[in-house]
Symmetry: D4
Subunit: 250 residues, 8 copies
């Protein structure tokens, strides 16, 4: 349903103005009492509605996923603890749970994006849970992912070695904690869009990821954009928007 056909129906007398007013208000949300599902988010934004499990009970998460399952093939939930996974898998047995990345998902094999791969780079082994959150998210909606892990700047030759591989990707997500300098170094070497994800790896003045965040935002290498600390999911959604290519109306 779109607003133009609705107005045409009104003009044609097929729908009264009062009916139209109600439809415009209530159509795109399903009310579960504790939650209102945003049924046309995928249509508007190109990415399915995703369940953020933190602060939700296992039952609430499972109920929302079960409701979504009725209308969409691909499913995704983030920050899912084992208890959320248990409840959700009872309701939807074909979900996969990735404990390290805290991701619950169901792939939709028919959803394949015709685009170059998305590169996911991590500075260290300790950043893997965030990097995998990004990778699994992008794959869920049909993108291809190339992983380049543990190539931090304490040994720069590891970065330089993959320069050509990164330039062949549509978009590069760089995941790093501590001083978070890797995105600057990468952006100075390649020409593709670089999305930086600071991680909470580090201690003391690393400030749970703030040192990396501030460093990434202050980067002397222009062209880096940044998402929230440990937000592999958000980086992936942004990368998918970038990678999907030119607007449909062009």
């Amino acid at each position: 349903m779109d607003i133009k056909s609705l107005l045409s129906d009104v003009a044609a007398g097929r729908i009264t103005p009062a009916e139209a007013e109600k439809l415009l208000a209530h159509w795109p949300a399903s009310d579960l009492g504790f939650a209102r599902l945003d049924n046309h988010r995928d249509w508007r934004t190109g990415f399915i509605e995703v369940v953020y499990c933190a602060g939700k009970t296992p039952d609430q998460a499972a109920t929302i996923l079960a409701q979504q399952s009725k209308t969409q093939a691909a499913l995704l939930a983030t920050r899912a603890e084992q208890t959320h996974a248990d409840a959700a898998l009872r309701a939807i047995p074909d979900l996969e749970y990735h404990a390290q990345a805290r991701i619950l998902r169901r792939l939709d094999p028919s959803r394949r994006v015709d685009a170059p791969p998305i590169a996911i780079v991590s500075a260290g082994t300790s950043d893997l849970s965030v990097a995998e959150e990004a990778a699994l998210t992008a794959e869920t909606v049909g993108h291809t992912v190339n992983r380049f892990y543990d190539i931090g700047i304490a040994g720069l030759h590891r970065v330089a070695a993959v320069r050509d591989n990164l330039n062949a990707c549509g978009c590069v997500i760089v995941v790093a904690g501590m001083e978070g300098a890797l995105p600057s170094v990468v952006a100075g070497l390649i020409s593709r869009p670089v999305i930086a994800v600071p991680t909470s790896v580090g201690y003391g003045v690393a400030l749970g990821g703030f040192a990396a965040l501030l460093g990434m935002l202050s980067s002397c290498a222009p062209g880096v954009t940044v998402v929230n600390i440990d937000n592999g999911f958000g980086a992936a959604v942004a990368a998918c928007r970038v990678n999907a290519g030119t607007p449909s109306s062009q």
Copy 2:
């Protein structure tokens, strides 16, 4: 010059190993004493080297621009005060100075990117200097810019009115101060990549742009990426990378 041909020359005896070693070290930088120009940044990253005027004397800025002027047609300097502009214009008369955006630039008419326009959205009139920094930057390297100014969320209908126009662009830069909620609202309405620029507009707890920055990074609408406060330039460079389309090797 690229590394393969250099090594071929060494292999062929046209260059001795000692000579090759020196070339590898010094080739891509011009040493002005107080500055070393990065002569192949455009080749590596797709964007010309840009002069950041803050903290530089007018003479230093002008000297660097004059040196760059010898080898490249398009020129760009940011955070340029009137004193920088005066010195630079004496050296390079065909520069344009945009005082509100603090931009010095020289367009290269032959540099036209074949891509959809970049949209630049501002929440309020007070955000214009940052929005214009972004717009002028993107135009300098050949992108087309569409401006949508003063459509903040206190009157949401102003945002909704331009939804289709934004979806027709390759990338959307959203500039906002105060609570910085406009990028979230835009990202929830459209499917194109959204790059958010927090501005230092506001007082008290707006914290010189930090309230907007934190809000943009915490956005409940996934797909937003963020740059430094008032960094219209950085947003534009990132948007140009996005907008330039798929990697050359695809």
Copy 3:
């Protein structure tokens, strides 16, 4: 007892000045040793004294409630963990315990405020414990509450759909975490007072609710006032003051 009649008694010789001095000092507080109850807070401020359980032992909380129970029908305790509830219910069996909102309360059926409903809006399902703390508080002193949950700005149509319902309420409490933009959006759509409650929902730069707090205080939509992070209780007390209508002396 009020100060005028006391002074009249002194003037009439019914009370000596020395006695009056003591009465003025000690009358309105009951000393339990570890606590001094403020017996005329309801008389002064229109809201009963409430027990803040955090930092109190279960026995201390129960003893205070038992003492209050002697002189007032409605009882309320906030931040009550299960251990506080267990101790309090042993002492006062007709209390109700709401675990999600951490509220212990006893309703006073005779206390009904003649006023429009208070609206309580939440951005997401993860904000429910705070929203319910507000709802249960307002109900305890006799206000009616209308709940509008999970209508965050990532899907704006959910907000717009309830605009008229909100305008029909006496006061609107908006509970939101992450970037906390919902109160700005609501305040831009309606004319009733809006009290914003930032929640600690979110991670990284959400900073345990500070991103939402700063955003709400920096709102570009004037008319929003704000309470402490996760302070559903305080928002409800303020809403009850607003909702109670014009001052008695008018």
Copy 4:
């Protein structure tokens, strides 16, 4: 114009769907190029659109006010420096400029709200510019203001002396810097809504108003709500919403 009559026109064929779509999008905003006026903000929120002068040139502020002047009697601009005032007064000679409060306004004598007075309390003489910003704002839209200045808690008897006067008002705005404890004290003494405004008065750890802000939000006296530092304007808008009384639909 409201949405129901528009839809009726569409139903009756008086307006085509295509025309209706445009009207819905563009009707309520006037585009000045650098600004889009929100023409129905007063209709939606009960308060006229106000010009925030900070970050605007004098000409921009004057142009916006001149445009607003065509359709509304009452005018208000905040954070107006002398240069803004000079430009605005050239365009609209019947504006008044209040330099201490940085307010430009034009009263609309026909706009009188039938409501009790709004009390404005200040802790010290140094808080007067903020207190007056609030007072002048509320008067502009037709509310009566009672001022109680310099009654800080270092001499508590000054607060106690006005207790009854405050309880006779519809809403109490309390303006305080340094430790910002006055709103807590006032809220513990009276039953009317208390809106606290932290000011940037103080030095060192007063942190430009943050000590007062944090103190007000942490108040042990429930019922206090808070606005941004030095935001007398926002407090007044909120107070006007409170003071306007019960919703029209009751």
Copy 5:
């Protein structure tokens, strides 16, 4: 006037209850419109009311001092800029102005406290304006001050050299910027009360005095108490309370 004699008058019929109520409310404050003087602060707290000039116009400061001058011999104003001094000296020619300490004062020769001296210690020469604010304040109300300046911990022997002199004082104020370690060192060497004043001397991570403040509050040498950054005045008032000796009722 004290409350006991007032009540006796009421009991004896010399004052009606209504008159007594008014006296209790209004007696101790003089209302200047923009300021209410706290006339019995000296009686209550042992220290005269002092004018904080920051945020006040020169005329406001001068008017308050002129009013105080009618009822008290000693006068003190802090944070007085030259413009405040000029206005005040026109009104009260026997004031002294100390520009470095930004103090305006008039000594009352009859006010001599029978107590040991107060020691004022500074870490460096750059801390002198704060140290002198403290010294001049204490002298104004009749205390003797011994100054020990520029004895910071980079040369510890300078501190050790004055240990006995400090122990002979009633109270020791220690003024220090940068890392603010001097109070810890002094408190570890002597047995008298130590009041620490952090100063805004230093740059970068000195954070305008916060590094010193945090260090002083975290001191490993117990017995140090702290006042606001650059608050020489507050330190002196506290020192005077300490130095005045045992309570009168003992």
Copy 6:
């Protein structure tokens, strides 16, 4: 041993210079390997060396106390968890453990200070553990303590009721969390020294005691000095210095 007699011994040939040098260096500290006891701290500062248990193993704490027990009657350890208490009590059975205040102590009945009482005031019941840390500390070295608990500013009459009692004490410690305004109110009412202790009571913007700390340091009522958050111990040591009266050499 003091330095004068040592030098006399050197002068008289009773001690060689080399021996004197060693004595001066090593005399006042006992080396336990992991700790060096400061044996003459009581002699220098008037307060015994106290064991800070946080970060020490139970065995380390017990070993230090056992060593101190050999040379001093009064013993005190702070931040002692149950495990520290168990280990210490095995070594020194006549210690008392106060779990709420986390204090281990042994009183020295012969140590009685001839001074007025120290008042300890708390704003709420949740502040008791800090207030008791202060009270038990002061008692350990022979001071008398008067407790005034739960008299916060939400019910000001509770403070006013004890004004005379506070003025009769030598020093007043005020313990408060949340906005921490009680010390300002107390300091405005009395003339004795006021030492403020912010507590970590509160949530959200109370920031673990920082809101109270900043408020206390920004107090508009001069004469307040402040110690670290939850530092009842430090407040008591400072109060004991104040309360001990004039310096011995006067």
Copy 7:
């Protein structure tokens, strides 16, 4: 392998340019999938690659150590919990685990640095785990360590007593929490390089080590350099670089 001999091989035709290019890119890193070992870090920086266990699973840590064990005699892992130790010891039985310092290491007896000792000073007993992390690290690569523990500034004579011992060392690491003033005091007394390590010892405004960090960086005694909070490891690596003496090429 070094770059000169590689280029000579190319020049001599012993290696083709294509082969050389690959060698230059991939030679110095071993790819384990989740980790890429930096095989020539010791050669480049003079310190072996060390495993940071935080955020790694026990298996990951053990696998990396086992791989390193094949090519190097000395091994070191930091932030190793008991679970990491268990896994690593199963793989490499000759590791030692130091639980307090969370260090896993294997000494290489043949690695002895010809240099003066490194001094490690701690302010208190609670700082020992950090001090030992530093000490064990330096010993692992062949330096001698002299320990001076619990000599904080509350008893300055303990510092003065070891002045000559410290001056005899090649470098002095000073570990301190709370106000962190000990490095300033030490640097004012000696002439050797001082590396300061703030620790998270303390509470409230100690801010988990930030008060100490800011104080150390603001030191009035020049010559102090600082590492991250609790970073005994980093201090030791820096001390080893200092202590190793003059560059080899001199």
Copy 8:
């Protein structure tokens, strides 16, 4: 004068104990009233006492330098504005003033340190004033300085090109603003000690140097130590300590 000969004099009766006591206390400081010069700092720490001009009047700075000039050949003052320079040059005509670095100094040609050069690296041209403060400081006490300016990580080849030159120095100072990643990169490439100086270059989240500071302290490349923001002077003093080589007593 040293303590051993003093004690010998006492033992021999050449000095009385009372005289010795005074000498020990007062010997090493010259009291100018507002300042006490630390006359044996050079003897104790190896670096002359330096005048920090910020917060000092031009006369104070000049008076201190003139006094120092009597006893030492080399002179150094930092943070000297033009007004300080004018006053100082009137008193001591052979001083040199370096305006960009805000340094006043007099070289002592006889003071030459026998050591390798100190390298000073800067990330950008905007960092030059800090880099020059370091360079001029080290030269003043006789060290040789090699400058490597504008070799930031946006063009990594500029760093790699000078690797061997840096390894030939005794110590490397790296000066960088914005994200401050250059010290990490340098420390990963060389084996000499690296002292990092964050600069206040940058805007927004660069936070006046804090982003660089946090990044440097969080460095993933061990061996980096850090000084205060913009503290080129402190870095140089530390570098001189390092560069001076092994302790004299070895």
